[in-house]
């Protein structure tokens, strides 16, 4: 059995669960959950933006990188489960729409990359407040890292919206 057939079987199964049928019968569920999903991604991408703006020297110049990270990164991490929860509800409500759509897998790949890069920035900073300032190379690297991470979150949103437009496989 190939992968595509397994995925098709999985969406077929999910689509016939009692939970999925209940969600399908209630017209307001999908738009309401999508709204919470958008509000959550707004929190995530904006947190990433404020960190990037600070590193580029465009905002909160009186604060240290650690102070800005402490303000925004916990919010980002605590919002991710809400994104995953609302995303899972949307999958159960319309399994074939996402599970059989290439854009959904781009989105997951971008999401994993953005989260990983966020950790690459955060973990060393937590251990040493000046980690990213110890050489000119690191200062440049951290700016590039922050800009890349922010762009990846934007790409996550883009791929998410494209699920509605890309043809299923």
């Amino acid at each position: 059995m190939n992968l595509q057939a397994s995925i098709a079987a999985l969406s077929e199964f999910l689509g016939h669960t009692a939970l999925s049928l209940t969600l399908q019968e209630t017209a307001w569920v999908v738009p309401a959950v999508q709204t919470v999903h958008i509000l959550s991604v707004a929190v995530v991408i904006s947190s990433s933006l404020f960190i990037a703006l600070h590193l580029l020297g465009w905002s909160a110049r009186d604060l240290s990188a650690q102070q800005v990270a402490r303000r925004f990164l916990p919010v980002l991490w605590w919002t991710l489960p809400l994104l995953l929860l609302t995303g899972s509800i949307l999958i159960v409500a319309e399994p074939a729409r996402s599970l059989q759509n290439p854009a959904f897998y781009w989105k997951m790949g971008l999401l994993i990359t953005a989260s990983t890069l966020t950790l690459v920035y955060q973990v060393p900073l937590r251990r040493r407040a000046d980690f990213w300032q110890r050489s000119r190379l690191r200062v440049a690297a951290t700016k590039l890292l922050a800009f890349t991470t922010l762009s990846l979150w934007a790409a996550v949103i883009l791929a998410g919206r494209f699920i509605a437009y890309v043809d299923n496989f």
Binding site: A27, V30, P31, A32, Q34, T35, I38, L39, V41, A42, V43, V44, I45, S46, S47, L49, F50, L53, S59, A60, D62, R71, A154, I157, L158, G160, R161, F162, A164, Y165
Partner: protein, 167 residues
């Protein structure tokens, strides 16, 4: 010229035709619209939560206002431009859509709230010390803003589920 004739004119502009007929244009403009509105929401939420008094209370307001509103205004400008393009692609149908009408109405209220904030609330804030509890008016302004923006997002999302094309 009545309103429907004006909407019809918008619908027939070359830009609107391109938005309808090019398979990639609408999804791209819509995606940029979502990225922009996410940044509007996320940035204004930082200010609203600070005004209400639940987050970042030790951050002085003048600095926060400057940092946050710069982001909000740039993102809002992008959201308005992309929103206008999306609207043009199906002007008559959007204008007659109840969710769209609510969204615009709520945006107008946000405009009023913003005007009141900058004219009457903000001048008193800069005089207050950073750690002081903010005046009630500031908290109301922040609470109103966050509720209105969440409602705008919801109505915006509902447009996609209720819109019907008219020719």
């Amino acid at each position: 010229m009545n309103i429907d004739a004006a909407l019809r004119w918008v619908y027939d502009t070359e830009l609107a035709v391109a938005m309808r007929e090019n398979a990639l244009l609408f999804p791209w403009v819509e995606s940029i619209h979502v990225v922009a509105l996410s940044l509007v929401l996320g940035s204004i939420a930082v200010l609203d939560l600070r005004l209400i008094g639940v987050a970042w209370r030790n951050r002085p307001l003048p600095e926060l206002l400057r940092d946050v509103l710069r982001v909000t205004w740039v993102a809002f400008a992008i959201a308005v431009i992309t929103g206008a393009l999306l609207f043009a692609s199906n002007a008559v149908a959007y204008a007659h859509n109840t969710c769209f009408q609510w969204k615009l109405g709520l945006l107008a209220l946000i405009g009023v709230n913003t005007g009141v904030f900058h004219s009457f609330v903000e001048p008193r804030l800069t005089r207050a010390a950073a750690r002081d509890a903010l005046p009630v008016l500031a908290r109301v302004s922040g609470a109103l803003s966050i509720v209105l923006w969440i409602s705008v997002t919801a109505f915006g999302r509902w447009i996609g589920f209720t819109i019907t094309a008219v020719d």
